[in-house]
């Protein structure tokens, strides 16, 4: 790989911004004649995923959002693999949701959450690449009047071996684009991959080291104004009144507007002016019914759920109640997990221009189609008059998915009040902390029963707390008769989040206790707390049984070979069977999440009983297939930064109905000095199901460290974050 493939998002975006209308955004549909769809530069589209330029370069289409996880590089590798194109001439371009809608959702789902970017679309994007290769080869064969089966393709060059003739994709692209797309499109055996599966460099690095990568925050358009916004700090509250006259004379201020029934925004020449005026603006809130709620109140409600009669069942075997009643030894523990903010480095923002004829949004979103729907709803316009242009996300972690009452809708409501003017709305960090879609709050009571030989005969895991789907996708909860299946991630009866142990008498249930604080999908989602609960408790049970935590787990994992595989891998590499160095203590954890199997083992030392140094973490992942091992390694290592920041530092507390933490000084994040050495074991075992990468590993970070901490100090910590226990990360 000598040349760095050109990444075209910015030129795509800026030209879109400059042109600003209709299908000139990126695609030209043919008015008549042969159905060749052309990219903005006139190059023919071979399949919806592949454009070949006359210079023999390849443009791969991607609709999943890039937020650092490397998905566009991985998806491009999969397309390029099947296309057999020259990787050094690959760039990526983003069709818009509006274009997709106009073409009957030609690009499928845009949503980029649940670690689905690659695993869910791999088959159809690979087929898009393979079909394009077949068409290009067929076009060359037609020109040479030879059977396509006698021609081969490699690195964007087609060869007819018998005659020695060669041509390029660039030369036959026009003819290929006119061919019928084949229906039977066989895919390569992943064992033969040459581009996919390799640790290739990302496609988007160059612009990230010289300041030229454009994030939503950075958009500039002719005539653009900026808006700063404040929503009622109490969730569910409303605007009562505001005194616009007090700030309308301030420098740069253009307009003060109400946004929906709960927000107020100042529009000014610059964002700094808008923010300064907003801070000076007197606003009276109607804080509503939630104005007195505190974290203690919420904790009380959840606590009551731990012993409530009614609960939704997520996993069941045998008769847990009877088994626990008859157990030789009964162990019980209560755990809790707090609200947490995603704290993306780039605060929420969106740029919108609205006219009665057209409304467009430019901004970071993990779900282009979801944002499209929100623009549609807020704009009051028809689907063919609306579009969304995604830009590079300065972090996503689930925060930039589609939620009710969020930043995209706000930006449209602001822009509607200044028709024709593009308005960039930016949240301050303080607004971002105050209006997150928080990691759900949860408590958990675990009761385990051991027989006389220390075997686990019964287990009851009672969750009590918030449902994300009840707030975000109520129709799913309704279809399940009130149950939120997502609550059981990692401990569920089956599927992508199946429980990794076999317990003869098992009950895992959920007393749903929703709060007024809006929940969201926080990287890893519900596996995070479920792993803390079950994997800490497994160590508690092992201790009560007088057994090694690894051996204790192994006895329950005979039916879970892939869970066991990753667990054994980390145990071997950390040296579990040998004593740890003096003063060093080990812990481990495992989970199935997002169809990947993950495990972690760590080595820590503790000074003065509360200063934790994490020396080393071994992490194993079995995602079935690995598309880019180098990016996987980075996602896994980064997962410990995200997961251990959450474990040690992060909690959003509620007082007077609002979130108390306002910025990173109260909501800390790990720095380089605290970063442990992470050794990644990537062990894909194939099969029919592809697992995710971006999220699974987060959940094993915390319990592995909690288990090591208990070994080191004898203290079993059962609530997050550790700062509340006086424990520091050094």
């Amino acid at each position: 790989m000598t040349a760095m493939p050109k990444f075209t998002r910015r030129s795509f975006l800026i030209s879109s911004a400059a042109v600003g209308g209709g299908l000139a955004l990126g695609l030209r549909l043919p008015p008549f004649g042969p159905a060749v769809v052309r990219a903005a530069d006139g190059s023919p589209e071979i399949t919806v995923w592949v454009v070949i330029r006359p210079d023999n370069s390849t443009v791969v289409r991607a609709v999943r959002a890039e937020m650092g996880q490397g998905t566009i590089t991985g998806l491009a590798q999969l397309v390029a693999e099947e296309l057999d194109c020259d990787w050094s001439k690959v760039s990526v371009e983003y069709p818009t949701p509006g274009e997709s809608v106009a073409r009957k959702r030609a690009w499928g789902e845009f949503s980029t959450g649940g670690s689905r970017g690659i695993r869910q679309s791999n088959e159809y994007v690979r087929k898009g690449g393979a079909a394009a290769r077949m068409m290009l080869v067929q076009a060359a064969a037609n020109e040479w009047k030879v059977p396509a089966s006698e021609c081969t393709a490699s690195a964007s060059v087609i060869t007819h071996k018998a005659s020695g003739r060669k041509t390029t994709y660039g030369k036959v692209a026009e003819a290929a684009a006119r061919l019928e797309q084949p229906k039977d499109v066989p895919l390569k055996d992943p064992k033969t991959w040459k581009i996919a599966g390799k640790p290739l460099k990302r496609l988007d690095t160059a612009k990230k080291v010289n300041g030229t990568m454009i994030y939503g925050m950075d958009l500039q358009m002719p005539g653009m104004l900026c808006a700063a916004i404040k929503d009622c700090p109490v969730f569910g509250g409303k605007v009562k009144s505001f005194d616009a006259a007090r700030v309308s004379g301030m420098r740069g201020v253009k307009k003060v507007v109400q946004v929906g029934d709960s927000g107020v925004a100042v529009i000014a020449d610059t964002w700094w002016q808008a923010k300064t005026a907003l801070e000076a603006l007197p606003i009276v809130w109607d804080e509503g019914a939630n104005a007195k709620i505190s974290s203690a109140d919420i904790a009380e409600v959840l606590k009551a759920g731990l012993d409530a009669e009614q609960a939704f069942v997520g996993n069941q075997a045998g008769d847990a109640k009877t088994a626990l009643a008859g157990a030789a030894k009964k162990i019980e523990a209560v755990y809790s997990y707090p609200f947490q903010n995603h704290a993306c480095m780039e605060p929420m923002n969106a740029t919108v221009r609205w006219t009665p004829e057209r409304c467009e949004m430019w901004g970071p979103t993990q779900n282009g189609e979801g944002a499209f729907a929100q623009v549609l709803a807020a704009s009051g316009l028809a689907p063919d008059k609306v579009d969304v242009h995604n830009v590079m996300l300065g972090g996503g972690f689930g925060r930039r998915g589609t939620y009710p009452d969020d930043y995209v809708g706000q930006a449209v409501l602001i822009a509607k009040q200044m028709p024709g003017t593009p308005i960039k709305m930016i949240w301050s960090r303080e607004e971002d902390m105050a209006h997150g879609k928080y990691h759900p709050v949860m408590q958990c009571k675990l009761v385990g029963g051991l027989d006389a030989s220390g075997n686990l005969t019964g287990l009851h895991m009672r969750l009590s707390g918030q449902s994300i789907l009840a707030s975000v996708r109520p129709e799913v909860v309704q279809a399940q008769k009130g149950r939120d299946p997502l609550t059981f991630q990692g401990v569920f009866e089956s599927g992508e989040h199946a429980f990794g142990y076999t317990v003869p008498n098992l009950m895992i249930d959920h007393a749903m206790r929703n709060t007024h604080v809006p929940p969201g999908f926080w990287r890893g989602v519900n596996v995070n707390q479920n792993a803390v609960f079950i994997e800490s408790f497994m160590d508690e049970l092992a201790e009560a049984a007088g057994q090694d935590p690894l051996e204790f787990r192994r006895k329950l994992m005979a039916n879970h070979p892939r869970n066991l595989g990753v667990l054994n891998a980390v145990a071997d590499k950390i040296g579990w069977s040998k004593p740890a160095p003096a003063g060093v203590y080990r812990g481990l954890a495992q989970m199935k999440a997002f169809d990947s199997f993950v495990a972690a083992a760590c080595e820590i030392s503790v000074k003065d009983g509360n200063k934790v140094k994490v020396h080393r973490i071994v992490a194993a992942t079995d995602p079935g297939y690995a598309v880019n091992p180098a990016q996987i390694e980075r996602q896994v290592a980064g997962s410990f930064v995200y997961g251990l920041s959450a474990l040690f530092f992060q909690e959003c507390t509620v007082k007077d109905g609002r979130i108390e933490q306002t910025n990173f000084h109260q909501y800390n994040s790990m720095r380089i000095a605290q970063m442990p050495k992470v050794e990644t074991i990537l062990m894909p075992t194939g099969g029919t199901v592809w697992g995710g990468i971006g999220e699974p590993t987060i959940c094993v970070a915390a319990p592995a460290v909690l288990n090591a901490f208990a070994k080191a100090t004898g203290r079993r910590i059962r609530s997050v974050p550790l700062k509340n226990h006086g424990i520091e990360l050094v």
Partner: protein, 150 residues
């Protein structure tokens, strides 16, 4: 009216003197590589060099800059030749989302000026930028590589 020297170019800006340097760089000068992350000097995404020293520009009022020479991420390279830190960043494929990386790179470039061969302890003490993606493992490797580069 203030006159600023940014990346060797003189800019006249008409702003309230209390405006943070960060926002003048982004909104008046139009250089958006320097990022807003927190506004309270916690995250370091806004790090620029002021007379060669790393500063969190969200906490520097433009009135305090005077005739100091400011370098932003856009001015770190010498023409088309990337700074050795930028080269190492590409070689080690450091950025994930990349949003914090301008500040991270500026902080590292400043560190290498005072400590051309930093130890891990030096890195731990001086590089305190927040990266939510968690690129630290690559950041550390790239710093050592940049230090070794000519």
């Amino acid at each position: 009216m203030a006159r600023l020297t940014i990346n060797g170019k003189s800019h006249e800006v008409d702003v309230d003197p209390t405006t943070p340097l960060l926002w003048v760089i982004r909104e008046q000068v139009g250089l958006t590589g320097t990022k807003y992350g927190c506004g309270v000097a916690q995250c370091g995404a806004c790090t620029v060099h002021v007379n060669g020293l790393p500063m969190r520009s969200c906490q520097v009022p433009v009135s305090a800059v005077g005739d100091a020479k400011i370098t932003t991420i856009e001015g770190l390279a010498s023409g088309k030749t990337l700074h050795k830190v930028q080269k190492a960043w590409i070689e080690h494929d450091v950025p994930q989302c990349g949003y914090c990386q301008s500040g991270m790179i500026m902080a590292v470039a400043a560190l290498l000026k005072t400590k051309p061969n930093p130890t891990d302890a030096d890195i731990d003490a001086s590089i305190t930028n927040i990266c939510r993606c968690g690129t630290f493992q690559q950041v550390r490797a790239a710093i050592h590589a940049a230090a070794k580069a000519a």
